[in-house]
Symmetry: C2
Subunit: 560 residues, 2 copies
């Protein structure tokens, strides 16, 4: 993005977050000032065997680090902060975020022992930052975590708006009202380009208020006889507040289960985001001091995560607390696609324990609402901002596509809408905008402590190994005449259980030996690579014919 003329130029690109849900990272560049927005991670799909986390490839940022003026984080969800420690390790940038978001980032940096060397700046929606030539202002939005920011970048060419994640909740919990007047003012003064999130662009209507969930929670608490277990995302501080409120109204003590629940409640209440009545919080070890109807257990694991608190409770493997017949379990969440089976398994176990379970579609239970704007809210944002150029972000292609159609419906020029892939650059000059360039981008895979050291070859090997295992053929041959001295021995792992398949293994040894003998009689000068290739082919063919499997085949030949 170097300046190749004296004209001012703004360049906008995603390093993560488009054509995917997760690892959000956007680059806003005005001439030689770069501002980075968000630094998320995402979880690998099942094809990325053994990978723990995916973060954006930041080689573009590393190349241009002298131009980076800061990293602004819109809110504290993993798909916006999860990459911070990994990225900061490679490229230290000043980080700007609101108090709760910074609280969550600090925990991550601490875990990676990076806190001391990080430069953290607390901001709020009234802050104004001058980063290079760009004046940065903010507006508060509603979402499923408090203190979310939208961003307005005032540049010499005009204002660029990034919405962050948002919905319009007109009756927000804890009076976290969105800055709708400020949005209107920004829009009225003219928006050159809008980047707006697209998560729910396929969903008609208007997303219900979080407050409705509170009503349903209270109703269920009033009805419940025994203990109440409620599971939701720990970061949904507003929902946690409503659970606390319902517990207070029904005279129940609160027990927190799950590391992230304990962490978030701790951070959020110490920073003033949660109102927790004195004496309400009780340790799990004290649960026997109370009657069942005096307890609410708020726990993690609403997505069916097998190691989280709810799964352990459902399995009966939690050390301190048990689910008894007549207890009520509320799943205050909607399973993310891919998690249904695990959630279903938990409901099975809960019913086996004869608990009363509130689960299933949130339109029926009322126990969950989305944190993202539906179609009418997206149109409202577009209408407020009236952007010249529109770039739908934060979503799979189909969501971006639907968001494009919404923008066209409210009057945005179809030629001024850009659907981008990660790395695509939108260059904007005073008179036009073009989508022509690309910057380096991709998935950086985190596996254990390794960042980016697992590539396609390793993953391909893992895939072969996972499906049919490995067969290792070991033999030693004499230096003098290349005759077999020991072996061939066959080692198998993940292929067949050897004791049950002695016949097959014996047959493989015979084939290995005879194919080597054959090779030696056919050819004067055989070398190792001939041996290896011959063995691999002969064994591979035999195995496939007899089992229809293709294990990885390794040949190890030692010259003695």
């Amino acid at each position: 993005m170097s300046v190749n003329s004296r004209q001012d130029r703004i360049s906008i690109a995603a390093l993560g977050g488009v054509n995917e849900i997760g690892k959000n990272m956007y680059v806003i560049q005005c001439n030689e000032d770069i501002i980075v927005v968000d630094c998320g991670s995402k979880f690998p799909d099942e094809s990325l065997l053994g990978i723990d986390l995916i973060i954006p490839d930041i080689s573009y940022l590393i190349e241009n680090q002298d131009q980076i003026r800061g990293l602004i984080i819109t809110h504290g969800h993993e798909d916006h902060i999860g990459g911070v420690p990994y990225v900061i390790k490679q490229l230290n940038m000043p980080i700007y975020a609101t108090s709760l978001t910074l609280g969550l980032i600090r925990v991550k940096l601490q875990e990676h022992r990076l806190l001391k060397n990080s430069e953290l700046h607390e901001i709020d929606s009234n802050s104004e930052l001058t980063l290079g030539s760009i004046l940065v202002r903010f507006f508060r939005t509603n979402h499923s975590i408090p203190d979310c920011l939208g961003i307005a970048f005032q540049t010499s060419l005009g204002t660029i708006v990034h919405t962050g994640d948002f919905k319009f909740d007109l009756t927000p919990v804890n009076e976290q009202y969105a800055d709708i007047h400020k949005m209107a003012e920004i829009g009225k003064n003219g928006v050159l380009a809008l980047l707006s999130e697209s998560t729910n662009a396929e969903r008609p209507g208007f997303t219900p208020s979080e407050r409705l969930v509170g009503g349903h929670i209270e109703e269920a608490f009033q009805k419940a006889q025994g203990k109440i277990f409620l599971s939701t995302f720990a970061s949904n501080v507003h929902r946690v507040q409503q659970v606390i409120d319902a517990a207070e109204k029904t005279n129940r003590k609160l027990i927190l289960l799950g590391r992230s629940m304990v962490n978030v409640v701790d951070i959020a209440s110490s920073l003033g985001y949660l109102r927790l009545p004195e004496g309400m919080l009780v340790d799990a070890s004290e649960c026997t001091r109370f009657a069942p109807h005096e307890l609410v257990i708020l726990c993690t694991g609403s997505q069916g995560e097998p190691m989280a608190a709810l799964a352990r409770l459902a399995n009966g493997t939690h050390r301190q607390i048990h689910i008894d017949p007549g207890d009520t379990v509320i799943l205050a969440s909607s399973p993310i696609p891919g998690n249904e089976r695990n959630v279903g398994r938990i409901v099975d176990h809960l019913f086996e324990k004869r608990a009363s379970v509130i689960y299933g579609s949130s339109t029926v239970t009322g126990m969950h609402v989305s944190g993202h704007a539906s179609q009418e809210e997206l149109k409202l944002m577009l209408t407020l901002m009236k952007p010249t150029y529109f770039i739908p972000i934060h979503g799979e292609y189909r969501m971006l596509h639907q968001h494009r159609q919404l923008a066209e419906a409210v009057g945005v020029d179809p030629n001024h809408i850009f659907i981008v892939k990660n790395g695509d650059v939108i260059d904007i000059w005073a008179s036009e905008a073009r989508q022509e360039r690309k910057i380096p981008n991709g998935n950086t895979l985190v596996d254990g402590l390794g960042i980016g050291d697992v590539g396609q070859i390793v993953l391909r090997d893992r895939k072969v190994l996972s499906e049919d295992g490995i067969l290792i053929i070991v033999m030693s041959i004499a230096k003098s005449d290349n005759k077999i001295v020991s072996g061939p021995d066959i080692i198998s792992r993940g292929f067949v259980y050897v004791r049950e398949s002695e016949g097959l293994i014996g047959e493989l040894q015979r084939i290995a030996r005879s194919s080597i003998t054959q090779l030696q009689s056919d050819k004067e000068n055989t070398d190792w690579s001939d041996y290896k290739l011959t063995l691999k082919e002969a064994i591979g063919k035999f195995v496939y014919t007899h089992t229809k499997r293709r294990p990885m085949i390794l040949t190890i030949i030692i010259q003695v």
Copy 2:
């Protein structure tokens, strides 16, 4: 299930199909006559690495094969017929099924070269079979494939009813009316025990008629400008009929894509289940002879299967047919949990091609209805049958649990309802019923040509290999003094890409060498197992500390 008294006894058990969706197989035994119902398969979840298919463990049947009087198949879905060839290989039984079901089974037996030795009996809903001491009658039910049977087993103790899969479709396609009067008559004469399917027991209301889908298909066909692509389950012959009808009304030719679509249409039309107008069917290679608005392409892949026709069309990798801007693509299906991501990916590609796509919730699109009874229909079946004992089958635990509650709501004695796991036996005598015994049961894993040769150890190895790969340490030591002669060499697969990690591999060699040297200096007589253990521990520890990964570690030591 041997008879241990002179009293008549009926025993009922599932070998597959309860606490799961899939691999249905039920055993109905009256004294010494065993009838088997269904023989399904299911697909493995992601924990069963490399496994192709799961079928029931039939060791109980093999043990008691002299008592088996037949295998009755209720309908032609994979979870009811998919296990047939694998089971018949182990245990040949006479098979009874309706014409379409037999047609689908024949294809499978042919593929496995078992057709010649199989004993197939065609029946219809009016058939009456005497199998041992049991008189078997049938009733036709509605479902998402034609010619489905419910079964009434008349025994000396009373009638046992197995519903098969069903819904009540009062306006069925092709006049396939359910035998509701016969069900009423069976119920009126007394039902000792009812086994009824539970797939939609969590769903309130009444499942809509398949005919409604036809209306929506026709409406979409009337509106469409370009080519129409419609993807649905091949076995849903009624839906295929409605696509044919809509094509006829809008003067479009029909192209079939996907092996199972071609197969099913072939079988169903030759057996009279499909009315296919003369000249409507056109080969894919002829598509250029027609204008876009003259074509409907009916294809497989509505669940997002990456190798199926729809995925190839969406990717643009189909050899003969392409999706152009303005074409209409209809996904006439509901994604089965776990398939949403793949379906979403296809919709992304279709939008990229600027097609108009009808997808998403079937309650919005109207392009799909379930083939299974919702709560009101399940209550209707329970009311018709008025069983003394009730065993909900065909479903996950939560579905069986909900079905139990429905049965209680319509007056079945709660003490007469049995929720069973696979292998649990319900024994019924003249005066009582008990759930006390178990018969052998389990998942038999099919991997390639192997049936049941992949067990827990192999799967555990595949899991380790899939997550962190394998590290192999090879060295040779002298017979004379056990000193290292060659190596240690390190081979890695699926762990790290060696060229990028030469430092680590070098370090591992150093550690391997030094730990062996250490061992030799500590101890007079070292043997191979000491070497192997020492190496494994030293390497494993170092690798985990430096990478937080735990690859499988194999040590190969050759004495020379």
